[in-house]
Symmetry: C2
DNA sequence: TGTACATCAGTGAACGCGCGTTCACTGATGTAC
DNA sequence: TGTACATCAGTGAACGCGCGTTCACTGATGTAC
């Protein structure tokens, strides 16, 4: 029962990792839709049927890669938040987290495309992916929660049409936060990935050059959108100036 | 020289359209990476080599689909803006345009994925695509321009680090607008597609339900971010309340 | 108006290649007594 | 400690299928005189 396992078990772990590593390499060249078991096996010096000892089908290998990618970007976000220096500077904590997600995306563009790009046709993600997929979002929620506990967050009231959805969303993902904040969070979450995707997928080519500066600014505006401010507003939270 | 052409020319136009239509259908089933000339030909009752009379290669067919898609979504945005009822309600004009883009995306999800999803591996977009690709952005710029001409737009000053990039961007795409507005526009443009992509690519599954209401709200916030306000601020534009 | 020639859409065979998955098998590792 | 048996990683052949692109060709449409 110690961590020392038999040769079989150790080999299995290593070969499984090698298969996933090689598959990740192939994402780069061919993309998820064309990920090929045979090509992976060939590169590993195995016969293609041997892979079936590790993954029951091509789709299961894809699922493993997707789960790993979500976990990796989620961990990057969690680490960035844990290492943010000033526990009271909530906008800085937000921006640091967003930048960590972007940095992971820039260093793992093909894994990023796998999880945040167009869905792979004919593949439907199983339930195993939903937990890992939510990690980044949970980090963003926790930043808003810290800020809310420290100073409160005030945002303008929601439009009437949105109120039912806002309450549903709130009770589902963050019952302790004001609905307006939850709605802003979901919007900021998706907008964050809009910024990263445009940069990564080439829409910024020949347009935005200083992408670090641009992203930092945009992430800061998103922090502002969810109501994060550097200093607690004195007295009422409404009606303070537009940008902290 | 009239519009009546010979049988050959008419046939060529029709067959070209039929090929593209069938290819669009196949995007749905297989995705861009697996778009297959042979499958298209088969469905059309032609032999695969016949397609080479119309498109010199698979990539050229893809390019044609991409250009068509950019043109379609660009036209949708332009039409929505042209049909917006109140010429002075700039936030409403913005939101109507954003909603038209989203509506096009929802009715053409596979063409949307083709242009705003992960790039097709091994395919590099030729220069023909850059003009059509910029149409939506140009519409958004024109809304900001209208608002700026009517009332002026005031946004808080840019961080120093961003100023060089902001000026470069501004002189490149909208020299008549304040740099802070241009930066906000580029951000809002990419964030708009973040919202649409998350909805379309399944990140909102089991999360956001009333997507129309959610989107309308988010688009309205983007309008606010680029400085569009329903009524011109009296006197100075700085320091007005956070949300109009 | 009629004829000779040029253009070009579409054919069918071929080249050389790739894919996911199944199946009976060999032989090494692990386990129970 | 030694032996018999079970487990399972990896093999190699096969099934049935798909792909992009080239090439010499047929036959209909279009054009110049």
């Amino acid at each position: 029962m110690t961590t020392i396992r038999g040769a079989r078990e150790r080999a299995r772990i290593e070969v499984t990792a090698a298969i996933k590593d090689e598959a990740r390499k192939q994402l780069e060249a061919e993309g998820a839709a064309k990920l090929s078991l045979r090509a992976v096996a060939r590169q590993l010096g195995m016969v293609s049927s041997a892979l079936y000892r590790y993954f029951p089908s091509r789709d299961d290998l894809l699922t493993a890669l997707i789960v790993d990618a979500y976990d990796a970007v989620g961990a990057a976000a969690e680490t960035a938040l844990a290492n943010a220096p000033d526990p009271d500077d909530h906008p800085a904590r937000w921006t640091a987290t967003c930048s960590a997600v972007r940095a992971w995306a820039l260093t793992h563009p093909h894994e990023y495309a796998l999880i945040y790009g167009s869905p792979v046709p004919g593949y439907t993600a199983p339930m195993d992916t939903v937990g890992p997929a939510s990690r980044v979002g949970l980090v963003l929620i926790s930043i808003a929660r810290e800020a809310h506990c420290a100073n409160g967050i005030a945002l303008p009231p929601l439009a009437d049409e949105l109120r039912p959805e806002a309450h549903r969303l709130t009770s589902q993902i963050a019952p302790d936060l004001p609905p307006a904040v939850v709605v802003a969070l979901v919007g900021a979450w998706s907008q964050l990935f809009g910024l990263i995707s445009f940069e990564l997928f080439g829409q910024f080519n020949r347009l935005v050059e200083d992408r670090d500066a641009f992203f930092a600014q945009a992430a800061g505006r998103l922090a502002h959108e969810v109501g994060l401010r550097r200093r607690p507003a004195a007295g009422t939270h409404r009606g303070s100036s537009a940008y902290s």
